[in-house]
Amino acid sequence: MSKRKVIYASKLKRATHLLFYKRHTKPGVKGWELRKALGSDYPKVLKLLDDHLKALDLQVKTVFEEEKAVEKPSLEQLDRARHFITLRGDITPKEAKMVGWRIDDLAGLAITISYIISQKGKATRKEVEDMLRDKLPGWKVCLNIDRYIRYGYLTQDENEQLYLDWRTRAEVDQKALIDLVLAK
């Protein structure tokens, strides 16, 4: 094996450790942390890791600080972005249960995210609560919204406006979700 290959194999291992294991309260690793651990060519290491993960139905997902995805990110933007390992394909509702979600809670999350997308990325908490109360018991609605906020799917400002947060940007293909809902 060439020296270059050995170096990249070792960097791949290191990147796997950093990305798979939770190091902070939030999952994922910031670009600058990867640069520090792997060197300035870490985007290339991430690309190699992504190729390796394809066979396992996993992927390296990058969430930029800017709300929208960046087509050709600069190294600076990548440094500020957070990198995660996510599922590449989709899971079945049965599997969703296995990752710790009850059907009610997941349906509530889906409705909340879809509704906020339809309202151009922000909606009042009251509107969302009314929407959820249609199908969930009232006492659960508030608890669920607080839980979505705690997990990082939503964020709330001082005027009780809800926005999509980093976890939704990392995990949910927003366009696909809306297309699928409308196609039902």
Binding site: K22, P27, I91, I111, Y115, M131, W139, V181
Partner: protein, 275 residues
């Protein structure tokens, strides 16, 4: 012909009106095209020569700032409508309402790619933890037992509870209505003969939450949203929600029922529930 003073007064009113309109569009996510930007700019221009004092110039600048925010919102609105993510919110809302929970979940999991995150112990962390354990003093030395702090009884006003963040700063009647709805749902789900044990309704995950729920429950009973059923021999208290607000309070003599919600009771209930 208006005097200079009158014209200044009208100008201030006009600018304040523009600021209010812009603010309502910004805060309530209304259609930003409801604001006629050209007309507002003309108004700002019209009154600008009148301003001489700094306060008026600040008002002028603030108006321009809010008009600029509305223009930014208009830009975002156009951009959003031109993207593939745009859909009629009403249509989507209707769709969401018509889908069952199962259908929504089936749809969502096709667009959901959850993050993979693992937590695992390593040899290195085990070695560190062992070293820590060896150096750790026994608990009897670290925590000298102290007698439990004496808690004095007292009364608290709603304002004090707001300050302590025990109550939220919502309209109280709205909060009470929500709480009533919660009680009725809870009784429907878990109650028997339209009632539920008092503690199973008020007990929360924390003692603070329990006190808050007991406080709200006392208002439900006082204002005729619910009633208490007390079985003194069995030492049981049930809470029974009314379907409609009962306003017969005036016909009967009100009886005050003190119920202690102490930390010990709450802990007893927690243990009992876990068993």
């Amino acid at each position: 012909m208006q005097s200079k003073h009158e014209r200044e007064k009208t100008g201030r009113e006009e600018l304040s009106r523009i600021i209010e309109t812009c603010k309502s569009v910004e805060d309530r996510s209304l259609d930003p095209f409801l604001v006629d930007v050209n007309e507002n700019i003309s108004t700002v221009k019209e009154y600008f020569p009148e301003w001489t004092i700094p306060e008026d110039l600040c008002l002028d600048a603030e108006t321009l700032h809010h008009v600029a925010s509305v223009i930014r919102l208009q830009g975002e609105w156009v951009r959003h409508r031109s993207t593939s993510l745009y859909m009629d919110p009403f249509l989507l809302g209707e769709k969401l309402r018509s889908l069952s929970k199962e259908e929504i979940v089936e749809t969502f999991v096709q667009a959901w790619h959850p993050i993979v995150e693992l937590e695992q112990i390593s040899l290195h962390s085990l070695a560190e933890a062992t070293a820590y354990w060896i150096n750790l003093l026994p608990i009897s030395e670290r925590w000298k037992e102290k007698p439990p702090a004496e808690v004095k009884m007292g009364s608290a006003t709603r304002e004090e509870l707001l300050q302590e963040n025990i109550l939220r700063d919502k309209a109280f009647s709205e909060e009470l209505d929500n709480f009533w709805r919660e009680l009725r749902n809870y009784v429907q789900e878990k109650g028997e003969s339209g009632k539920i044990p008092y503690w199973s309704f008020i007990a929360g995950e924390t003692y603070e939450e329990t006190v808050q729920r007991a406080f709200m429950t006392s208002f439900l009973v006082t204002y005729g949203y619910a009633t208490l059923e007390i079985h003194p021999l069995e030492e049981e208290i049930f809470i029974k929600p009314y379907e409609k607000l009962e306003t017969k309070i005036g016909n009967k003599q009100l009886v005050s029922i003190p119920i202690a919600v102490s930390v010990e009771d709450w802990m007893k209930w927690k243990k009992g529930e876990q068993h």
